[in-house]
Subunit: 333 residues, 4 copies
């Protein structure tokens, strides 16, 4: 077995932090050095994540002083940049940030560089695995951003995004985190549906940057209707656009593009969301209706859309097999 990677988590009391904990505790190459949380400092991690009772005796610590090989930032949007501005991190420590603070985005020409000169590589392995393998600092993509990009990357690679793309997507409640709000109240959300950030979801910025990276010219617009659905985990995305490809050509293109990527799978059957829940997989499904190519894309927002992809990136950065610690039993029901 490879020597152990010492890992630390900043902001371990939230949803993404909890998922990361669950993954790292079972990862064969990782030794969890600390889990920091300001709100839970001093308490055992199972106080915040009761399913971890019996799995670990680790307690949350108040600050992140312990030297580690890799630091995961689950501190939330804005908080990651703040943490790095206020804390000294040794130059040899790798950093994987799950917030949007350092993701590339539309209107920039490349990776985001922070105040200390660290250059963050956008961590979508299916887009740029080689760059991730060489990276020291990773900006982990957003959940909707991951699902939508995986639906479109093969087309962009061939410069085939030449007409408007129409996207609708439904997200579970964990996508909004554990903060309490009217739309996270069970009485409201159960058996309910609503939209939010219609046409203006913030993930469009990183999506457009990635697509531009693959297809620098001739792109059309992306229109996106995000829905809140009455379930906890997962994102279900449907995208469509005019395409000259036949169904067979499209399937061949997608299978070829994702051939070497172990987590992204092309289904020949109409899929349902629970196929990917509690896994790091993305399932894609293609249909052709008239001139419209329709792409379905499913991920678990907390895994492939957050903590699972962070571990996938860690595996790549440290030269491990990409799937290490990520072969997960699906919940299925």
């Amino acid at each position: 077995m490879a020597a152990s990677i010492k890992a630390g988590i900043v902001g371990g009391a939230g949803y993404a932090g909890g998922e990361l904990l669950r993954l790292l505790l079972l990862h064969p190459n990782v030794e969890l050095a600390f889990v920091q949380s300001r709100s839970q400092a001093g308490k055992p991690v199972y106080a915040a994540h009761p399913d971890l009772l019996g799995e670990t005796e680790l307690a949350f610590c108040a600050d992140a002083a312990i030297p580690v090989d890799v630091l995961f930032l689950c501190a939330g949007h804005g908080e990651a940049a703040k943490f790095l501005a206020e804390n000294e991190v040794p130059t040899e420590t790798k950093i994987i940030d799950l917030s949007q603070d350092f993701r590339w985005h539309e209107g920039t020409s490349g990776d985001t560089v922070d105040a200390s000169g660290r250059s963050f590589v956008y961590g979508l392995p299916e887009l740029q695995r080689e760059q991730i393998q060489q990276a020291q600092y990773i900006a982990n993509p957003g959940c909707f951003a991951t699902g939508i990009q995986l639906a479109l990357l093969p087309l962009a690679k061939q410069s085939l995004l030449t007409s408007d793309v129409h996207v609708s997507g439904i997200t579970g409640s964990t996508g909004a985190g554990q903060s309490l709000s009217a739309t996270s109240h069970f009485s409201w959300r159960t058996e309910n549906v609503s939209t939010y950030k219609v046409m203006e979801h913030q993930h469009l910025r990183e999506i457009k940057r990635s697509l531009l990276y693959l297809q620098p010219e001739g792109q059309s617009d992306i229109h996106f209707i995000p829905y809140r659905g009455p379930f906890a985990r997962g994102i279900f995305i449907t995208a469509y656009l005019q395409s000259g490809l036949s169904l067979e050509e499209a399937q061949a293109l997608y299978k070829s593009y994702y051939g070497g990527h172990p987590f992204t799978i092309i289904s020949d059957q109409n899929p349902d969301l629970k196929q990917v829940v509690n896994t790091n997989k993305c399932v894609l499904y293609l249909q052709k209706h008239g001139s419209m190519l329709v792409i379905t894309s499913l991920i678990d927002n907390l895994l492939k859309g957050a903590a699972g992809q962070a571990v996938q990136n860690m595996n790549l950065v440290f030269g491990l097999e990409e799937t290490t610690g990520l072969k997960l039993k699906a919940t299925a029901f």
Copy 2:
């Protein structure tokens, strides 16, 4: 109080039949003469609809021989035409059919005429209330068809459907009826999402016919992604298209169009599905993003999308106040 309308239901054991029963039992102008069901004949109606225990001692009968003023057909697609072919219905009896058998549809020039020469008026009051008031035979619209049309009618009326319309919609499980299937199994459907009949939903045929009726020329295509959601009641629809209208102009147009229609309401706030659950209402909400006009449309598929609209049509046909028996307490949670 007005003289009582004698009503009969054919196919009363299913979801739509049950909802109709619930409504008619509470309707001040209706006397329920019989409820027919082949599968439940002889059993009390609460055997199939246990919430009606204590509400009525009525039992299902095997055939529909009793003379009535109005006959509701809830027999299912194909079964309604079959029933009318095999049974004599007195000419003075009004018929309201909830199946798709007699709905008008794309490719025809008007109302559907059955084998006996009955001409069925398409029963969407917000489209053609006057025709319904004069009608003897009504074809009640489909649920998705109702929601999507109510989102688009004001634009068609002004011949403003001039670019492609992109629609996504999520339906609850009652939309698929009470038949048992893999996708109606609780273990499968809870916390799950899937699509079905992508771009090919059968309701598009009646929708297109209605829009053509209002706007005979220059229409563009409708693209429709229907989703199955993990909830029982309701349909949540989002439609968008390029539009030269400002938000204020669009709101004024919709408020004007629906001004005299008591069940269709324009919201100034972003709505959620449970606002309409267990009511006969349609809530519409308008947004403008760049050149896109986005219309949200919510209905309860079993009420405004089926049994409630059937009662609304009955009220119109018999000259009653349109809202009689349809002022319902929303479930809200």
Copy 3:
């Protein structure tokens, strides 16, 4: 039509207040004079209860100065007593309080008298309808208290509660109100179960007082396991005890006891919770297993367990038919 009853609601922005609004807006004998809410003062009621959009133009007011015939207090536990201490209420105004502040309870010999000398009658019509009809001030029972009492009253009336009673009950999320908490978060509650206040639920105090009222001697203990369930509305209760009654005798006893009570119904079939959701009904079901008599009791916690029962009490206090405004279409699904 009878002359209108002018009604006011104090604390109208919460769940019980909202349900009361929905009921009173449709009640044929009620004119809603005001709805007070400190947090929502000045806003239209549909800002807090969006399903009421299009139903009323009423706005929340900041204080409850308008003279009314009946005042409903939905202010919450402790807040009702505080409101009455701080506000002058004309002596001719009837008061119906939905909090626990004035409910009778174990250890007292009768009705609760407040600081101003008002004597509150415990408002369970199936227990003491005559006293309610004569009352000026009503303390509306708790939700679990209503369901459990309705399961046991006929036995207590015959002094047949002679062995320990074992009760389990599952409540939906609306039972805990709209305040945000870890256990009301959708991500936590969906697909989840937990217990709370095991053996110590506060409603046991009023239950025991009522049972003692009917059966002053020889009672045994009540053991109660309350569960939180992953649904929004309703309470499902199972109670059992040793009983010498045969099933037929027990059924006869219950049918006789509830014969004149329109909302409490004895089912001959194994019932499910949704039979009562969005209605003011209580469905009871009896089984005998060996020497154990098992009683199932179902109510909608917000209606028969709160706002519906409050309207039922109002009807009784004002001499109206008990069911006026309470014949509600069940949601059923």
Copy 4:
């Protein structure tokens, strides 16, 4: 790594078979030789279990002729006995049956012996791990039976079950398998609760046999109210009885009893069901209220209540570490 165990599954298209597949595909010491299913023969396993797309290319076979080291029977109640009567199984093949066909039960003096003379050991490791380690044939316990026994074993071991035990338990929909029925229909089950087999659940027979094994004399009765809940996975059980133990004594007793058992954990906090969902764990929680000792017991019905426990038994039978292949990431949400 230890030499591989060749495993076969009979009846692999159902829920338990699917879970077993998910576990065995990830088990480091198992090579899956075949998965049999009459209904799905010839199809890839992901046709029945779509989450396994990309995980295996295995297809269902029609019969179970291939020689294996261990045969898992997931054929259903009655079908297991039938399979063994109709098929030759080599004597050196271990058999783990998930049906109730060979479980011991009240009224018998020991293990169940089948028609071919095979003696099946009741496979509850926390009851009799040594016997399982020596066994050739295992009868895997029922789901409710597992949860209830784990709540009571430490008391029985000390002959402390001396007063009636009152049990209520709520099960998710997967407990009833994948067959379609009125109570498995999503429209019915969502937001609903009901009871079934009140006081007569068939698992009581095996529970009573186990308790008698530990405490041969002086037992009292078990009263059990099983509920159907609106969720897919898990069982939540509450049991209580009169007990002379203090809370501390009870906690010490349970911690001592389960000290060497890795999957059964005593919580000091009030737990919720999702702590164990998608794990092989049982979480127990103790409370003392007056003279009542209250025990909460939570398991995932498909894992510790079925397929997970079957793998645990396989590990014991083959001399592997008990937790091999069973360290699972909880779903948590």
